[in-house]
């Protein structure tokens, strides 16, 4: 079938007009992958097109890029899935990475974040002979995180990293959870306390689901981050706005069946945190002027009882 590719190019060695979009029309087998198509371009049409790829089997993590605006491993994305009727495929480099050339991005920031979470097992002591004795279940659970191939797709499409470069990010946090839940590791609390930190830690995630959506390996980084939040709370690491926010949210919903936004804002900041509360005043005033200030004393929801039952059930099921 005919495949139409529109590829974003970048040549750092040109002083001007160094970013452009280039069209390639090629003829390939319909069940080919987008990587097959790009290799075909590179081999037969334009040898200057730059991209990384190696295994062609979705295990090395080299070929992440954006296809029609969403990050994909192109070796496991078939042309007919995305463009069944021969629609134009827009190919661009991954987001949240600096571009080196064409579709090749600088992966050093990605790996710097991995290094940030002390990415190796830290047991207090090792068995003198043989292996650590732990249950198969405990190891099996870690398989999800071990599936991560560090392709960077989750980082590419992370909406927090777009605005906050300090965020440790989905891949590194998923990697962190792999050690937090490893029964052989003895730094669990230290790890959780570090990840719980206000700046860039687990509470920075806005739960936009992008990382879950784009992960080609089913790692579901966001779910791993939520696991870490719960574990942090369990060990008593509660001195974060994130914890207060969650807590206030839960209290307000179970009490009234509604979210009490005024209380949420104040409690998330911390009721003794004067400077943060002062910061909230202009926000409140703006909301007041626009008629969007939530009521100071919230009404109860009509089916409040049902909501309370639901909340109770959720807690019991945990």
């Amino acid at each position: 079938m005919e495949v139409k590719l529109k590829v974003k190019r970048f040549d750092p060695e040109k002083s001007k007009d160094n970013i452009w979009y280039q069209d390639y029309n090629i003829d390939i087998h319909p069940s080919s992958t987008i990587l097959d198509a790009l290799i075909n371009v590179r081999e037969e049409v334009d040898g200057t097109l730059g991209l990384r790829c190696a295994c062609r089997a979705s295990i090395c993590g080299s070929c992440g890029m954006k296809v029609n605006g969403q990050a994909k491993l192109v070796c496991k994305t078939r042309v007919e899935e995305i463009a069944p009727k021969g629609e134009i495929l827009l190919i661009e480099p991954m987001g949240n990475h600096t571009i080196i050339r064409d579709l090749i991005v600088d992966i050093s920031t990605f790996f710097a974040k991995i290094e940030q979470i002390t990415p190796y097992l830290q047991p207090d002591s090792e068995p003198e002979t043989g292996e650590f004795i732990v249950s198969n279940e405990s190891m099996d659970k870690l398989l999800t995180e071990m599936n991560c191939i560090m392709c960077g797709l989750c980082v590419s499409d992370c909406t927090v990293l777009e605005v906050d470069k300090t965020f440790i990010g989905p891949a590194a946090l998923a990697k962190a959870s792999r050690f937090v839940y490893d029964p052989r590791d003895d730094q669990t609390n230290q790890r959780l306390n570090y990840l719980n930190d206000e700046q860039g830690g687990i509470w920075d995630c806005t739960r936009c689901m992008q990382c879950v959506e784009v992960c080609p390996k089913g790692v579901s980084p966001m779910d791993r981050i939520m696991d870490l939040r719960e574990s942090a709370i369990e060990i008593g690491a509660k001195k974060t706005h994130g914890y207060h926010h969650t807590n206030s949210f839960e209290k307000s919903v179970t009490a009234n069946g509604r979210l009490d936004e005024t209380r949420l804002a104040i409690e998330s900041a911390g009721i003794f945190n004067i400077s943060r509360l002062i910061d909230l005043i202009p926000v409140g005033l703006k909301a007041l002027i626009r008629g969007k200030l939530p009521p100071l004393f919230p009404h109860k929801a009509e089916d409040n009882k049902k909501i309370q039952e639901l909340a109770k059930k959720i807690k019991e099921d945990k």
Binding site: D11, P12, E13, S31, R42, E43, E44, D46, G47, T48, G50, L51, R52, C53, A54, C55, R56, A57, S58, I59, C60, G61, S62, K76, R78, I100, R101, I104, I107, F111, E115, P119, Y120, L121, P123, E126, P127, T129, G130, E131, F132, I133, V134, S135, N136, M139, D140, L142, L143, M146, N147, I149, M150, D182, R184
Partner: protein
């Protein structure tokens, strides 16, 4: 200028295991790799790693004998003994570093069965064992603060009067050529699968290390021994792990027969890889295939089992062919997968060239002989990766100063690259590569004969001339010029192809993966020997045939 005690070329399992050991010994170590370490091809190993653990009632001699029988008695038995004896500790050490191996009820490491072995002694992580090991060794390298030249491509070894003193390499991100000196160099740069088309190997497996060593006086041994894996996915050629058969999958032909009954009644689907691949190819050639494939059937294992133990295979089957393995058999065929041959080393990674060591797929110790058992390649990388670090560190202590004048060496490669960039030829790298690699599969395939091998040789010779005289590289830039990179890799691939065709033409018998339809029998009387090829500066080949080392297992007929 950069200077180290030990420089390791390649950051796969062999390279990283070697680096971790050398770093622990206090050497000033660096690794140089053309891809980020976790992109290395060790990733692709799926099924597991073999180890006879004595506390589980296994015995190293059992593993050694299976390995030797698997090798069709071409492996050097002293080397196999070392690998089998050190296997247990090597695997347990990986566990203690953090690998999340699958376990049994007792919380100890659990096993699965693999081909060519009667006992289950393969330790595994789902169907991502290679990836799990590689990521953990990478973690250890971070823990130890290992220096890595990441995305640097080695263009030559620095050779002063026959002594290796470092490398010249291209920093892909800047396009600058630099010298990196070292008291010793370990080549752990992986295999050369791209010399064949199709191949399960990644596009980066271009035989760089083999060529570098060969051009500096090391010998390439048993290069004719090319492993065709029995189960690669139809059309795409993607590897489907032997773990599928290890866990109980069947092979069927178009007539619904479990055809392995005819070829290996005792081991059935779990015979050695060369045996199963030949059986499949025979079925296909005799008209009992389906569009050039046979069927791999896992349905009886059940969906839950498939997804928990063989998740990656299911993922690949669904993604690439749209087949749910719990519902339908998958079409598969033999595909080029591994080179048993490689840089001749002793059991300590020594190549015979002062300052030059080798380990992993690019090396030939030889523990795999004429056919490697599944799950022995990962074992090979960690055992001999570690041993080469130990031996190289002894050598490093004898070298006083590694700092030398390097400008001449850099200049030489700079001129070579300039020449390639300025060449006004008409053949793209890909065109020469594809023609050669297709001919290699045709000529040095599952079955081969004098005529087919000579055909491959002719095409390799033509490729060599095209590469020298009529290559064109479109991209003249410096920053991440992959067009240039592929051209340089093609040079390495042509060297590998040359050694493979000469190895194949030299061996006048059938043994393991080298099956000649014109000489079908193994000939222990004349060919219990390796083929060992050297090439001198003028390009002249010298072929030797040293004896295989036999310790306690006399060659007998190989029946599965």
């Amino acid at each position: 200028m950069y200077d180290h005690d030990l420089l390791i070329v390649g950051a796969g399992l062999a390279g990283l295991r070697c680096a971790v050991e050398a770093q622990r010994m206090g050497l000033k170590v660096a690794v140089i790799t053309k891809v980020h370490p976790v992109r290395s091809h060790s990733n692709a190993a799926q099924g597991g790693i073999n180890a006879p653990l004595t506390d589980r009632g296994d015995d190293w001699k059992g593993h050694a004998l299976d390995t030797i029988k698997g090798s069709d008695y071409l492996a050097d038995q002293d080397a196999v003994e070392i690998m089998s004896q050190e296997a247990g500790e090597a695997v347990l050490e990986l566990e203690r570093m953090g690998v999340i191996f699958s376990r049994g009820e007792d919380g100890k490491l659990g096993t699965r069965r693999f081909g060519g072995q009667k006992v289950a002694r393969t330790f595994f992580v789902g169907a991502i064992t290679g990836s799990a090991l590689l990521h953990v060794l990478y973690e250890q390298s971070l823990k130890l603060g290992l220096q890595v030249y990441e995305e640097w491509f080695v263009t030559s070894l620095i050779n002063e009067e026959g002594v290796i003193k470092g490398v010249v390499a291209l920093d892909l991100k800047t396009g600058e050529l630099e010298a990196i000196t070292a008291k010793a160099v370990v080549i752990a740069a992986g295999g050369a699968g791209r010399v064949f088309e199709p191949s399960t190997n990644a596009l980066i497996c271009t035989g760089d290390g083999l060529s570098l060593a060969w051009n500096n006086g090391a010998g390439l041994m048993d290069m004719e021994m090319i492993q065709y894996h029995p189960t690669t996915l139809a059309r795409t050629g993607i590897l489907m792990s032997e773990a599928a058969r290890g866990e109980g999958a069947y092979l069927f032909n178009s007539e619904g027969d479990r055809f392995m009954e005819k070829y290996a009644p005792d081991y059935m689907e779990l015979a050695s890889r060369d045996v199963v691949s030949r059986a499949e190819q025979t079925e296909i050639n005799e008209g009992r295939g389906i569009d050039g494939n046979v069927l791999l059937d896992l349905r009886h294992l059940g969906k839950d089992f498939i997804e928990s133990r063989l998740g990656y295979l299911q993922e690949v089957s669904v993604e690439f062919l749209g087949i749910d393995m719990a519902e339908k058999p998958v079409p598969i065929r033999p595909g080029m997968h591994y080179i048993m041959g490689g840089i001749k080393t002793d059991v300590n990674g020594e190549t015979g060239v002062p300052g030059l060591y080798a380990a992993g797929e690019c090396a030939n110790v030889s523990v795999h002989g004429a056919n490697r058992l599944g799950a022995n390649s990962l074992l090979d990388t960690v055992v001999f990766g570690r041993r080469s670090a130990t031996k190289a560190s002894e050598y490093v202590k004898t070298v006083k100063d590694s700092r030398i004048s390097t400008s001449e060496h850099v200049e030489k490669d700079l001129n070579r690259i300039k020449k390639i960039l300025n060449n006004k030829g008409r053949f793209r790298t890909s065109e020469i590569r594809n023609t050669m690699a297709t001919a290699m599969t045709e000529g040095i395939g599952v079955f081969r004969d004098q005529k087919s091998m000579e055909y491959a040789k002719k095409i390799v010779e033509e490729s060599k001339i095209k590469f020298r005289d009529s290559l064109v590289v479109e991209n003249k830039g410096k920053v991440y010029n992959t067009d240039l990179l592929f051209a340089l890799e093609l040079g390495y691939m042509i060297d590998c192809a040359e050694s493979i065709v000469h190895g194949a033409l030299t061996r006048k018998e059938s043994r393991g993966a080298h099956f000649r339809t014109d000489i079908k029998d193994r000939n222990d009387k004349e060919w219990l020997k390796h083929t060992l090829i050297y090439r001198d500066r003028s390009g002249e080949l010298k072929i030797e045939t040293p004896d295989v080392t036999i310790t306690q297992w006399k060659p007998v007929e190989r029946v599965y």
